[in-house]
Protein backbone atom coordinates (compact mmCIF):
# COMPACT_ATOMS: atom_id res chain seq x y z
CA UNK A 1 0.00 0.00 0.00
CA UNK A 2 1.19 3.55 -0.49
CA UNK A 3 -0.03 7.15 -0.35
CA UNK A 4 1.37 9.73 -2.76
CA UNK A 5 0.80 13.47 -3.10
CA UNK A 6 0.41 15.05 -6.56
CA UNK A 7 -0.59 18.43 -7.91
CA UNK A 8 -3.66 18.54 -10.16
CA UNK A 9 -1.53 17.83 -13.26
CA UNK A 10 -0.30 14.57 -11.76
CA UNK A 11 3.24 15.80 -11.02
CA UNK A 12 5.09 15.11 -7.78
CA UNK A 13 5.68 18.19 -5.63
CA UNK A 14 9.24 19.37 -5.02
CA UNK A 15 10.31 19.65 -1.38
CA UNK A 16 13.47 19.85 0.70
CA UNK A 17 13.30 16.30 2.11
CA UNK A 18 12.42 14.53 -1.18
CA UNK A 19 9.32 13.04 0.40
CA UNK A 20 6.54 12.37 -2.12
CA UNK A 21 4.58 9.75 -0.23
CA UNK A 22 4.67 6.88 2.23
CA UNK A 23 4.61 3.15 1.66
CA UNK A 24 3.09 0.87 4.31
CA UNK A 25 6.58 -0.24 5.36
CA UNK A 26 7.98 3.27 5.78
CA UNK A 27 5.17 4.75 7.81
CA UNK A 28 5.49 5.36 11.56
CA UNK A 29 2.60 3.71 13.39
CA UNK A 30 1.05 4.13 16.81
CA UNK A 31 1.07 1.29 19.33
CA UNK A 32 -2.34 0.05 18.10
CA UNK A 33 -1.14 -0.15 14.49
CA UNK A 34 -2.99 2.93 13.28
CA UNK A 35 -1.15 5.73 11.58
CA UNK A 36 -1.56 9.44 10.98
CA UNK A 37 -0.12 11.47 8.12
CA UNK A 38 0.13 15.26 8.34
CA UNK A 39 -0.11 16.98 4.95
CA UNK A 40 1.25 20.47 5.49
CA UNK A 41 3.62 23.04 3.99
CA UNK A 42 5.72 23.25 7.20
CA UNK A 43 7.51 20.46 9.03
CA UNK A 44 5.49 18.42 11.51
CA UNK A 45 6.49 15.62 13.88
CA UNK A 46 5.61 12.10 12.79
CA UNK A 47 4.62 11.29 9.21
CA UNK A 48 4.93 14.62 7.43
CA UNK A 49 3.99 14.88 3.76
CA UNK A 50 5.15 18.29 2.50
CA UNK A 51 2.87 20.19 0.11
CA UNK A 52 5.48 22.74 -0.96
CA UNK A 53 2.92 25.44 -0.22
CA UNK A 54 0.50 24.64 -3.07
CA UNK A 55 -3.17 25.01 -2.24
CA UNK A 56 -4.77 22.28 -4.31
CA UNK A 57 -3.39 18.78 -4.43
CA UNK A 58 -4.47 15.16 -4.79
CA UNK A 59 -3.72 12.36 -2.37
CA UNK A 60 -3.63 8.98 -4.07
CA UNK A 61 -3.98 5.80 -2.00
CA UNK A 62 -2.88 2.67 -3.86
CA UNK A 63 -3.49 -0.86 -2.62
CA UNK A 64 -1.33 -3.49 -4.26
CA UNK A 65 -2.20 -7.17 -4.20
CA UNK A 66 -4.42 -6.88 -1.15
CA UNK A 67 -6.21 -9.94 0.15
CA UNK A 68 -9.27 -7.91 1.12
CA UNK A 69 -11.43 -5.80 -1.12
CA UNK A 70 -12.17 -2.19 -0.36
CA UNK A 71 -15.07 -1.62 -2.74
CA UNK A 72 -16.66 -5.05 -2.89
CA UNK A 73 -19.54 -4.14 -0.53
CA UNK A 74 -19.00 -7.54 1.04
CA UNK A 75 -19.43 -6.30 4.58
CA UNK A 76 -15.86 -7.13 5.48
CA UNK A 77 -14.39 -4.01 4.00
CA UNK A 78 -11.23 -2.41 5.22
CA UNK A 79 -11.89 0.97 6.85
CA UNK A 80 -10.59 3.67 4.54
CA UNK A 81 -8.40 6.42 5.97
CA UNK A 82 -10.29 9.47 7.18
CA UNK A 83 -9.29 12.93 6.00
CA UNK A 84 -9.86 16.00 8.17
CA UNK A 85 -8.78 19.63 8.07
CA UNK A 86 -6.77 20.38 11.18
CA UNK A 87 -6.08 24.07 10.77
CA UNK A 88 -6.04 26.70 8.06
CA UNK A 89 -3.21 29.20 8.21
Amino acid sequence: MDVTLYNNDGDLIANSINRYGFTSEEIVRRADGNFEIVVAPRANPGNWLPTGGIERYQLVLRLYDTAVGVSTKAGREVPMPAVSTRSCP
Binding site: Y6, L12, E26, R62, Y64
Partner: protein, 188 residues
Protein backbone atom coordinates in the same frame (compact mmCIF):
# COMPACT_ATOMS: atom_id res chain seq x y z
CA UNK B 1 -47.11 23.09 -29.24
CA UNK B 2 -46.45 19.46 -30.21
CA UNK B 3 -44.03 20.68 -32.89
CA UNK B 4 -41.94 22.45 -30.24
CA UNK B 5 -41.84 19.35 -28.06
CA UNK B 6 -40.73 17.22 -31.02
CA UNK B 7 -38.12 19.80 -31.96
CA UNK B 8 -36.71 19.85 -28.42
CA UNK B 9 -36.75 16.06 -28.22
CA UNK B 10 -34.97 15.78 -31.58
CA UNK B 11 -32.40 18.32 -30.49
CA UNK B 12 -31.72 16.49 -27.25
CA UNK B 13 -31.41 13.18 -29.11
CA UNK B 14 -28.97 14.63 -31.64
CA UNK B 15 -26.98 16.24 -28.82
CA UNK B 16 -26.82 12.90 -27.01
CA UNK B 17 -25.59 11.09 -30.11
CA UNK B 18 -22.88 13.70 -30.77
CA UNK B 19 -21.82 13.64 -27.11
CA UNK B 20 -21.52 9.86 -26.97
CA UNK B 21 -19.70 9.67 -30.32
CA UNK B 22 -17.20 12.31 -29.16
CA UNK B 23 -16.52 10.51 -25.88
CA UNK B 24 -15.98 7.21 -27.69
CA UNK B 25 -13.74 8.66 -30.43
CA UNK B 26 -11.66 10.93 -28.17
CA UNK B 27 -9.13 8.30 -26.94
CA UNK B 28 -8.32 7.34 -30.54
CA UNK B 29 -7.63 10.92 -31.59
CA UNK B 30 -5.42 11.75 -28.56
CA UNK B 31 -1.93 12.65 -29.77
CA UNK B 32 -0.20 12.55 -26.38
CA UNK B 33 -1.26 9.13 -25.10
CA UNK B 34 1.15 6.79 -23.32
CA UNK B 35 2.11 5.00 -26.54
CA UNK B 36 2.98 8.30 -28.27
CA UNK B 37 4.94 9.57 -25.26
CA UNK B 38 7.01 6.39 -25.12
CA UNK B 39 7.68 6.11 -28.86
CA UNK B 40 10.75 8.43 -28.86
CA UNK B 41 12.49 6.62 -25.97
CA UNK B 42 11.35 3.01 -26.38
CA UNK B 43 12.47 1.04 -29.45
CA UNK B 44 10.09 -1.69 -30.62
CA UNK B 45 10.24 -5.12 -28.90
CA UNK B 46 12.83 -4.07 -26.31
CA UNK B 47 12.50 -3.55 -22.56
CA UNK B 48 13.38 0.03 -21.63
CA UNK B 49 13.71 1.07 -17.98
CA UNK B 50 11.87 4.30 -17.21
CA UNK B 51 13.48 6.91 -14.96
CA UNK B 52 11.97 7.19 -11.48
CA UNK B 53 9.53 10.13 -11.52
CA UNK B 54 10.69 13.38 -9.93
CA UNK B 55 8.95 16.76 -9.55
CA UNK B 56 10.97 18.12 -12.50
CA UNK B 57 10.56 15.22 -14.85
CA UNK B 58 8.08 12.37 -15.20
CA UNK B 59 7.32 10.65 -18.47
CA UNK B 60 3.73 10.10 -17.42
CA UNK B 61 1.43 11.76 -14.87
CA UNK B 62 0.57 10.02 -11.60
CA UNK B 63 3.54 7.64 -11.67
CA UNK B 64 4.22 5.96 -8.34
CA UNK B 65 7.64 7.04 -6.97
CA UNK B 66 7.87 3.83 -4.90
CA UNK B 67 8.12 1.73 -8.07
CA UNK B 68 10.85 0.91 -10.54
CA UNK B 69 9.21 0.59 -13.94
CA UNK B 70 10.02 -0.43 -17.48
CA UNK B 71 8.06 -0.73 -20.70
CA UNK B 72 8.18 -2.90 -23.78
CA UNK B 73 6.54 -1.28 -26.80
CA UNK B 74 5.63 -4.32 -28.85
CA UNK B 75 4.79 -5.04 -32.47
CA UNK B 76 3.53 -8.56 -33.19
CA UNK B 77 3.28 -8.18 -36.97
CA UNK B 78 6.58 -10.08 -37.44
CA UNK B 79 5.73 -12.87 -34.99
CA UNK B 80 4.92 -13.66 -31.34
CA UNK B 81 6.95 -12.29 -28.43
CA UNK B 82 8.46 -14.03 -25.43
CA UNK B 83 8.46 -12.06 -22.18
CA UNK B 84 10.55 -12.94 -19.12
CA UNK B 85 10.50 -10.88 -15.92
CA UNK B 86 12.54 -11.91 -12.87
CA UNK B 87 10.58 -11.34 -9.66
CA UNK B 88 12.03 -8.65 -7.39
CA UNK B 89 12.14 -9.09 -3.57
CA UNK B 90 8.85 -7.18 -3.24
CA UNK B 91 5.66 -6.91 -5.28
CA UNK B 92 6.20 -7.21 -9.03
CA UNK B 93 3.53 -6.81 -11.68
CA UNK B 94 3.27 -6.99 -15.45
CA UNK B 95 0.35 -5.28 -17.22
CA UNK B 96 -0.60 -5.36 -20.88
CA UNK B 97 -2.19 -2.48 -22.77
CA UNK B 98 -3.51 -2.23 -26.32
CA UNK B 99 -2.34 0.47 -28.74
CA UNK B 100 -5.10 2.69 -27.32
CA UNK B 101 -4.07 2.17 -23.69
CA UNK B 102 -6.82 -0.25 -22.72
CA UNK B 103 -5.53 -2.73 -20.14
CA UNK B 104 -6.39 -6.28 -21.21
CA UNK B 105 -4.22 -8.53 -19.06
CA UNK B 106 -2.16 -8.34 -15.87
CA UNK B 107 -0.21 -10.79 -13.77
CA UNK B 108 1.75 -10.34 -10.54
CA UNK B 109 4.48 -12.31 -8.79
CA UNK B 110 2.04 -14.10 -6.48
CA UNK B 111 -0.20 -15.19 -9.36
CA UNK B 112 2.81 -16.43 -11.32
CA UNK B 113 4.04 -18.35 -8.26
CA UNK B 114 7.63 -18.63 -9.48
CA UNK B 115 10.84 -16.67 -9.41
CA UNK B 116 10.42 -15.67 -13.05
CA UNK B 117 7.25 -14.50 -14.79
CA UNK B 118 7.40 -16.06 -18.24
CA UNK B 119 4.82 -15.84 -21.01
CA UNK B 120 4.21 -15.72 -24.73
CA UNK B 121 2.38 -12.81 -26.31
CA UNK B 122 0.67 -13.26 -29.67
CA UNK B 123 -2.31 -12.14 -31.71
CA UNK B 124 -5.41 -14.33 -31.97
CA UNK B 125 -4.39 -15.37 -35.52
CA UNK B 126 -0.92 -16.43 -34.35
CA UNK B 127 -2.43 -18.38 -31.46
CA UNK B 128 -4.53 -20.40 -33.91
CA UNK B 129 -1.38 -21.42 -35.76
CA UNK B 130 0.28 -22.86 -32.65
CA UNK B 131 0.22 -26.66 -33.11
CA UNK B 132 -2.05 -28.28 -30.55
CA UNK B 133 0.43 -30.93 -29.41
CA UNK B 134 2.94 -28.22 -28.67
CA UNK B 135 0.47 -26.60 -26.36
CA UNK B 136 -0.04 -29.88 -24.52
CA UNK B 137 3.65 -30.71 -24.08
CA UNK B 138 4.23 -27.26 -22.64
CA UNK B 139 1.37 -27.41 -20.18
CA UNK B 140 2.70 -24.61 -18.04
CA UNK B 141 3.30 -22.37 -21.01
CA UNK B 142 1.32 -19.20 -20.51
CA UNK B 143 -0.07 -17.66 -23.69
CA UNK B 144 -1.55 -14.16 -23.75
CA UNK B 145 -3.53 -12.94 -26.75
CA UNK B 146 -3.19 -9.29 -27.72
CA UNK B 147 -6.33 -7.69 -29.20
CA UNK B 148 -4.19 -5.25 -31.25
CA UNK B 149 -0.94 -6.06 -33.14
CA UNK B 150 0.88 -3.26 -31.28
CA UNK B 151 0.70 -2.14 -27.67
CA UNK B 152 2.55 -1.69 -24.41
CA UNK B 153 3.75 -3.98 -21.64
CA UNK B 154 4.36 -2.22 -18.32
CA UNK B 155 6.70 -3.95 -15.86
CA UNK B 156 6.62 -2.60 -12.30
CA UNK B 157 8.57 -3.63 -9.21
CA UNK B 158 7.89 -2.12 -5.81
CA UNK B 159 10.57 -0.73 -3.51
CA UNK B 160 8.80 -0.65 -0.12
CA UNK B 161 11.62 1.58 1.17
CA UNK B 162 14.20 3.65 -0.73
CA UNK B 163 16.99 1.19 0.16
CA UNK B 164 15.28 -1.53 -1.87
CA UNK B 165 15.05 0.59 -5.02
CA UNK B 166 18.30 -0.75 -6.58
CA UNK B 167 17.03 -4.34 -6.22
CA UNK B 168 13.70 -3.39 -7.82
CA UNK B 169 15.47 -1.58 -10.65
CA UNK B 170 17.73 -4.59 -11.14
CA UNK B 171 14.78 -6.96 -11.53
CA UNK B 172 13.09 -4.63 -13.98
CA UNK B 173 16.28 -4.08 -15.99
CA UNK B 174 16.84 -7.84 -16.28
CA UNK B 175 13.46 -8.31 -18.01
CA UNK B 176 13.41 -9.33 -21.64
CA UNK B 177 10.84 -9.17 -24.40
CA UNK B 178 11.93 -10.52 -27.76
CA UNK B 179 10.70 -12.10 -30.94
CA UNK B 180 10.16 -15.83 -30.75
CA UNK B 181 11.03 -16.78 -34.30
CA UNK B 182 14.76 -17.20 -33.62
CA UNK B 183 14.28 -19.72 -30.81
CA UNK B 184 11.53 -21.55 -32.74
CA UNK B 185 13.79 -22.03 -35.76
CA UNK B 186 16.62 -23.55 -33.77
CA UNK B 187 14.22 -26.09 -32.28
CA UNK B 188 13.25 -27.35 -35.75
Amino acid sequence: MIRWVLLLLGGALLGGVVHLATVIILPRTATQDAYARLTPIAPVNTVVALPIPSPEKAIMPFMDPAFASAVCRYDLSEGPLKLTVPVSPAYTSVSFYTRYDVAYYAINDRAAGRRVIELDLMTAAQHEQVPEDEEITAADRLIVESPTPTGLIAIRAMAPEPGLMPAAQGAVAASRCMRQTESARTRK
